[in-house]
């Protein structure tokens, strides 16, 4: 039930936004993430964006994992 997936925000209008998944668009609520910007990847749960995906952290983790020994 706490499933959430990272999707790209492609447009925004007030507290509503649209994300793209496999070439289709879906409306998401932005009430919980009002600062999301078009082009951001956002984590979508039950029709709402709940968090922004930080690219910097993604790279840091992948680098860290590639040096694990």
């Amino acid at each position: 039930m706490c499933i959430a997936i990272p999707l790209k925000l492609i447009s925004k209008e007030g507290t509503k936004g649209w994300v793209e998944i496999g070439g289709t668009r879906r409306e998401v609520g932005l009430a919980i993430l009002p600062d999301a910007r078009v082009g951001d990847y956002v984590l979508v749960h039950a029709g709402f964006a709940i968090s922004k995906v930080e690219e910097k952290e993604v790279q840091q983790l992948l680098e860290l994992l590639s040096t694990v020994s």
């Binding site: 039930m1 706490c2 009430a31 993604v58 694990v68 020994s69």
Partner: protein, 366 residues
């Protein structure tokens, strides 16, 4: 998919499992780590993580499936409202959970008004489209989902949608983790903390556990590499004799969480004691609807009486939820209890431990 496939890289999985094996050897003793979240349980079984880690590390499921910890009485209450002609809007997982007399899907088959929605806003749309109906959204879920329900209540108030109400059954994760530690019956050496709950409450929400109960905590994501790195960080802490909160899922989880979501929760709900299936009443572990929004609280506006609830005989969901037994240790598991004929909620929800073990448990082992 971006930000998913990167975290399924088999070369990196090889590196990290190698490291886990090395540290686990160093630790020597049996280690029990609890994944609190049902979405973690699903990822662990689905990706075969249990087979990638050494035998002295055991992953134990916890109480993190919202449908599973919802008491039977809640289902009975929802069915009672359906009987009275209210239109019930619910996330799909709740449909087949058995109540004392039957499930919502049985209510629907008798012609009562029960609709599955994907989002709280869909329920609000139903209320707008059918002004003659009294629509009740079943407010089930942890800190991840509760803000979405709070948002729908807030919009209902702003737009004056008077036929929209919520049956509030939201629960909070850290108090349940505390209750597990207090009970003393679960022997665990570390927590894989729920990643998506943490996007809202922040990694700092677990600091009291590390401090007061000396237990390592790692906020963890849901892809195979995330989970393995979570296990790696936990056993590294155990090896070093440390107990602190680490955040493996920093790409979406911050120290303080999501301020807009927490603001909405504070505005619409108040923290209250809550009844958990298998765990009893836990202090300050749930939400009820705040006075300013009582018009949207169906229990305040249209109270119904329900008879004391009955659990199905022999069902051991409570022990599964507390991490005391594995699903296969229940005499009902597989036969007669299975997803087509569930006796308890853990076999219904796709995030319930019994359902997951039924679907992904491997030949002979389970």
């Amino acid at each position: 998919m971006k930000y998913i496939s990167e975290f399924r890289d088999h070369k990196l999985v090889g590196r990290i499992t190698h490291r886990i094996s090395r540290i686990a050897k160093g630790v020597g003793k049996q280690i029990r780590l609890m994944e609190v979240c049902g979405t973690h349980t699903m990822a662990i079984l689905r990706y075969g993580i249990k087979e990638l880690i050494p035998p002295n590390i055991k992953l134990v499921s916890g109480p993190g499936c919202p449908v599973c910890v919802t008491p039977t009485q809640y289902i009975d209450r929802a069915c009672a409202y359906a009987h009275k002609g209210f239109l019930i809007a619910t996330f799909g997982d709740m449909m087949r959970v058995p109540g004392s007399e039957g499930s919502l899907v049985e209510e629907k088959s008798k012609g009562r008004k029960v609709r599955v929605v994907y989002s709280a806003m869909d329920a609000l749309k139903l209320a707008k489209s059918f002004p003659e109906e009294k629509v009740i959204l079943l407010g089930i879920g942890f800190e991840t989902t509760a803000p979405t329900i709070a948002a729908s209540i807030s919009v209902a108030k702003e737009e004056g949608i008077g036929n929209f109400m919520v049956l509030c059954g939201h629960k909070l994760i850290p108090p349940a983790m505390k209750a597990l530690m207090e009970s003393g019956e679960v022997r665990i050496n570390g927590f894989l903390c729920p990643g998506h709950v943490s996007t809202i409450i922040g990694s700092r929400a677990y600091e009291f556990l590390a401090r007061d109960y000396d237990i390592p905590c790692v906020v963890t994501g849901f892809e195979p590499l995330d989970i393995l790195q979570g296990v790696n960080l936990l056993i590294s802490q155990i090896y070093q004799g440390e107990a602190k909160v680490e955040n493996e899922y920093a790409r979406v989880v911050t120290l303080k969480g999501n301020p807009a979501a927490r603001g909405l929760l504070k505005k619409v709900f108040r923290v209250s004691d809550s009844q958990w299936r298998g765990m009893g009443i836990i202090k300050d572990s749930g939400f009820s609807i705040a006075k300013d929004y009582s018009r949207y609280d169906v229990q305040t506006r249209y109270p119904v009486e329900v008879i004391p609830s009955r659990e199905k005989e022999g069902c051991r969901c409570g022990e599964v939820l507390r991490g005391l037994i594995e699903p296969r240790e229940c005499a009902l598991f597989r036969n007669p209890c299975n997803p087509s004929n569930p006796f308890g909620p853990c076999m219904v929800s796709i995030e319930g431990a019994c359902n997951i073990h039924y679907r992904f448990g491997h030949k002979g082992k389970l």
